[in-house]
C-alpha cells in the first residue's frame, strides 16, 4: 500500500498544476453540457492534446502523444483537473468508445482516417445500436445491410441515438447475415451521417434538449471497406465498444467533484439565516454521501492499481456503472434539494451556451436518470453483475413465438 506518488508522477502533477495555473482560465465550464463542442471547447481540446493531457497513449501517427499506457498517469491527470474543476477534455462516444475500439480492432486505414480527427473534436460520432422495440436487447438489431456492387446498402431505423443530430459519423450495428443465428448475423459499419438516404429526427428528452435521435436509413450506401473486423463480427466489436462505455460512465472523479460542490453549496445556501449544512437532515445526507464517496474513491484506486498490474477486476469492474449512477443520482438529488425553490427556475441556454448553476444541476439530476437507462440499463447491469460477476444462472430461455427461429 503506497499512496504517495513517485518522483515521476510528482513531476507530472507539478507540470499540470503549472499548466492549470497559466491556462486554466481558458477552460470551458465543467458538467451539464451534452452538446456539440463549441469553439472554446475545441480550442481547449487542442491545447490539451498538445500537452498530452488527452489522447496521451494514442500513437503519434494517429494524432496522440504516443506515451506508454500508464493508469497512474491517467489518474494523476484526472485528479488534478477534477480538483481544479477544469474541463478535462472531450468524453463523447467517439473519443471514449470508437477510438479505443478502432485502436483495438480497426484496420490501419481506419485508425489513420478517424482517430486523429475524432480526438481533436473535428469528427463527432454517434452510436447506431438501439432500435424501436429492442432497447436493451442489442443483439436483436434488425436494421439490414446488403452488399451490392462494393457498397453496403443500409435500410432500417435506429433510435436513442445520442448526438446524431449534430454528428458527422456513426458506428452502426446492423444485420448482414439474416440467415445466421441472432448473435452471429451482425456487422459493425462506419458511415457518414451526411450520406444520402439518412433522415435524422431529434428526440427531445426530459432535460429539454435533443440528446437523442431517431435515425432512418433508406438505401444508404456505405463503402464495403467501412466494416470493422468483418462480416458477422458485429456483436464481438459491439462488445469491445460497450466495455469502454461501461468504464466511461462510472467514474469516481465525478462523484468527488459533486461532493465538493455540495459541501460548498450547503455551506453557502441559507434558509432563515441558517446555512443548510447546519441543518440536521441536510447535514446527515451530506455525511452519508461523504461516506459513500470515500468508499467509491477507494474502490476506484483498487481498480486503477489492478489495471496497472494487468489484473482483470471482474465483478469489481462490473459494479461500477450501476453503483456509480445510483450514487451520482443521490448526489444530484441532494443538490436540487439544497437549491430548493431557488433552483426551480429553469431555462436551458440552448445548444451553444453555458447554463446557470441551478439549470445545470437540474439537467444533471435528470440526466442521471437517463444514465440509469442508457449504456445498459440498471436492470441489465444487475443481470451482468449477477450472471457474469457472481456466476449465478442466467434467466432461463422462454420458448415463445417471438424467440422461435432466432436461436
Amino acid at each position: 500500500m503506497d499512496l504517495s506518488l513517485s518522483e515521476e508522477y510528482q513531476a507530472l502533477q507539478a507540470e499540470i498544476r503549472a499548466f492549470i495555473a497559466t491556462q486554466g482560465h481558458k477552460s470551458p465550464k465543467v458538467g451539464g453540457g451534452r452538446k456539440r463542442p463549441d469553439q472554446k471547447t475545441l480550442d481547449w481540446q487542442k491545447t490539451l492534446l498538445e500537452h498530452g493531457y488527452v489522447g496521451r497513449t494514442i500513437p503519434v501517427e494517429y494524432g496522440g502523444a504516443g506515451k506508454t499506457p500508464d493508469v497512474m498517469e491517467a489518474a494523476v491527470i484526472a485528479s488534478e483537473f477534477t480538483a481544479a474543476n477544469i474541463y478535462a477534455g472531450l468524453t463523447n462516444q467517439g473519443v471514449s468508445m470508437l477510438v479505443p475500439t478502432l485502436l483495438e480492432v480497426g484496420t490501419e486505414e481506419q485508425k489513420r482516417a478517424y482517430v486523429g480527427p475524432t480526438i481533436r473534436g473535428d469528427i463527432i460520432w454517434c452510436q447506431g445500436y438501439s432500435e424501436p422495440g429492442n432497447g436493451s436487447d442489442l443483439a436483436n438489431a434488425q436494421t439490414k445491410a446488403e452488399l451490392k456492387d462494393g457498397f453496403w446498402v443500409v435500410n432500417g431505423q435506429k433510435i436513442w441515438t445520442s448526438s446524431a443530430h449534430y454528428a458527422d459519423m456513426m458506428f452502426l450495428l446492423c444485420r448482414t447475415e439474416p440467415h445466421r443465428p441472432k448473435h452471429e448475423g451482425l456487422s459493425y459499419l462506419l458511415l457518414s451521417m451526411n450520406s444520402p438516404g439518412i433522415d435524422r429526427r431529434p428526440l427531445k428528452t426530459m432535460t429539454g434538449r435533443s440528446e437523442f435521435n431517431e435515425v432512418f436509413f433508406t438505401d444508404v450506401k456505405v463503402p464495403e471497406s467501412q466494416i470493422v473486423v468483418g462480416r458477422g463480427k458485429g456483436w464481438y466489436v459491439a462488445n469491445v465498444t460497450l466495455k469502454h462505455e461501461r468504464s466511461m460512465i462510472g467514474n469516481a472523479d465525478k462523484v468527488t467533484t459533486r461532493l465538493e460542490q455540495l459541501i460548498k453549496m450547503l455551506s453557502a445556501t441559507e434558509v432563515d439565516g441558517v446555512p443548510l449544512i447546519r441543518q440536521a437532515e441536510f447535514r446527515d445526507r451530506l455525511l452519508r454521501l461523504q461516506g459513500e464517496v470515500i468508499a467509491w474513491k477507494a474502490h476506484n484506486l483498487r481498480l486503477l492499481t489492478e489495471a496497472a498490474q494487468g489484473i482483470d477486476s471482474g465483478v469489481k469492474r462490473m459494479i461500477v456503472k450501476y453503483g456509480g449512477t445510483m450514487l451520482g443520482f443521490r448526489l444530484s438529488s441532494l443538490a436540487v434539494d439544497a437549491l430548493g425553490a431557488v433552483g426551480l427556475p429553469f431555462e436551458s441556454a440552448g445548444e451553444d451556451a453555458e447554463d446557470d448553476d441551478a439549470t445545470t444541476w437540474n439537467i444533471d439530476y435528470m440526466y442521471d436518470v437517463g444514465l440509469m437507462i442508457g449504456g445498459g440499463s440498471n436492470n441489465i447491469q444487475k443481470n451482468i453483475i449477477g450472471e457474469r460477476g457472481l456466476d449465478l444462472p442466467r434467466e432461463p430461455k422462454v420458448q415463445t413465438a417471438a424467440t422461435i427461429g432466432r436461436g
Partner: protein, 365 residues
Amino acid sequence: MEFGLSLEQRQFDDSLREFLKDRLPMERLRALAEPGGGYDADLWNGLAELGLHGLIVPERFGGAGLGVLDAAVAAEGLGYAAAPVPFTGTTVMAPLAFMNSATEAQQDEYLPMVAAGEARIAVGFAGLAGQTGAASVTLDGTRLSGTVNGVMDAGAATHFLIYLRDGTAALVEADAPGLSTSLHRSLDRTRPLVDVAFNSSPAVVLAAANDKVAAARKVLDAGRVILAADMLGAAQTMLDRAVAFAKERVQFGRVIGSFQGVKYMLADCVTTLEPCRGMVWYAAHAQDAMPDEARLTACHAKAHVADVAREVARMTTETHGGMGFTDLLGLHYWFKRIGFNRQVLGGPERCREEAAELQGWRLDR
C-alpha cells in the same frame, strides 16, 4: 367512523377527471407548457363550471363551503392531469388566508371575487415557509415594500397576498403602483415562479387573527397538504402509465412486466405510494376537523409523499427505458411536477424539522 371519500366527493372527483381528460389531452398540455405561464384562461374558466374556484369559500360568500379534504381530492386529480392552473394558491391558500386572517368586511369584499374566479390571488411567504430564496418585506402602515422571490401560482395573478414573518398579511393588487414582477418558467412548465418586488405599494392589511402566526401557518399547512395531494396524483399517473407500458413493451422475447426486475420495481412503487393516499386524506381532514393533528400531519404528508413520489418518478421512468427519458410520451411533465411540488413551501427537510419542533424534539446542538 368512516375513513373514505363520500359519494359526493367521488362524483366530484370523477367529473373533474373526466373534464381534464377531455380538455387536457397530451397535445394540449404540451401547447400550454410551452409558454410556461401556468395559466390558461379556457381551462381555468372551464373549471368554474365544476365549482372549483369557490370550492372552500363559505356559502355565504358564494362558494361551496367545502373543506381542505375536498380540495385535496381536486388537487390529486389536477396533479394526475398535470393541469396548468394556479389551484393551490388561488383556490385554497388565498380563501383560507381570508378566512383565518381577515376581518369580516375584508372577507365580504374579496371572498366573493375568489369564488367567482375574478380574483386570482397568489400567496407568498416572507420567511415562515422555509422556502429557499430571498424574501424581505416591510409594512409601513398600509404601504408594502421589499421583495419576495419564488411565489407560486402567480402566473396570471390579479393580487399578491404576502405573509410577513409576524403573521400579518398584506394584499396588493397586481397592477398597484410600485409593484413589479418577474416571471420565471420553472423546471415544471405547468407552473412558473414569480419574483415580486414592492416599492411602497398600497396594501390591504389582514391582521384580524388573534394569533397571527398561527393563522398564517394554517394557510401554509393547507398549502402543503394540497401540494402533497398534487404529488400523489402525479406519481399515480406515472405508476399507471408504467404498469400499462410494462404490459405491452416486449424485450428479449417477453413482455417486460413479466420480468421480476420490472415487476418488483412496480410492486415497490405501489406499496409505498398507495398508503400516501390515506395519508393525504387524513392530513387534509385534519385541517378541516382535527386541529390538534393539523400541523403535524401536514408537515409529514408534504415530506413523506415527496420522498415516495421522487422514488416512484425515478422507477417509473426507468421502467419506460428510453421512452421515459425522452419527451415522446411526455412522462417528464409529471416527473418535473413532483420535483416542483417537493421544493415550494418548504422541502421535506424543513417540513420534518417543523414536525420535530412541534413535538419539542429540539436538537442539542
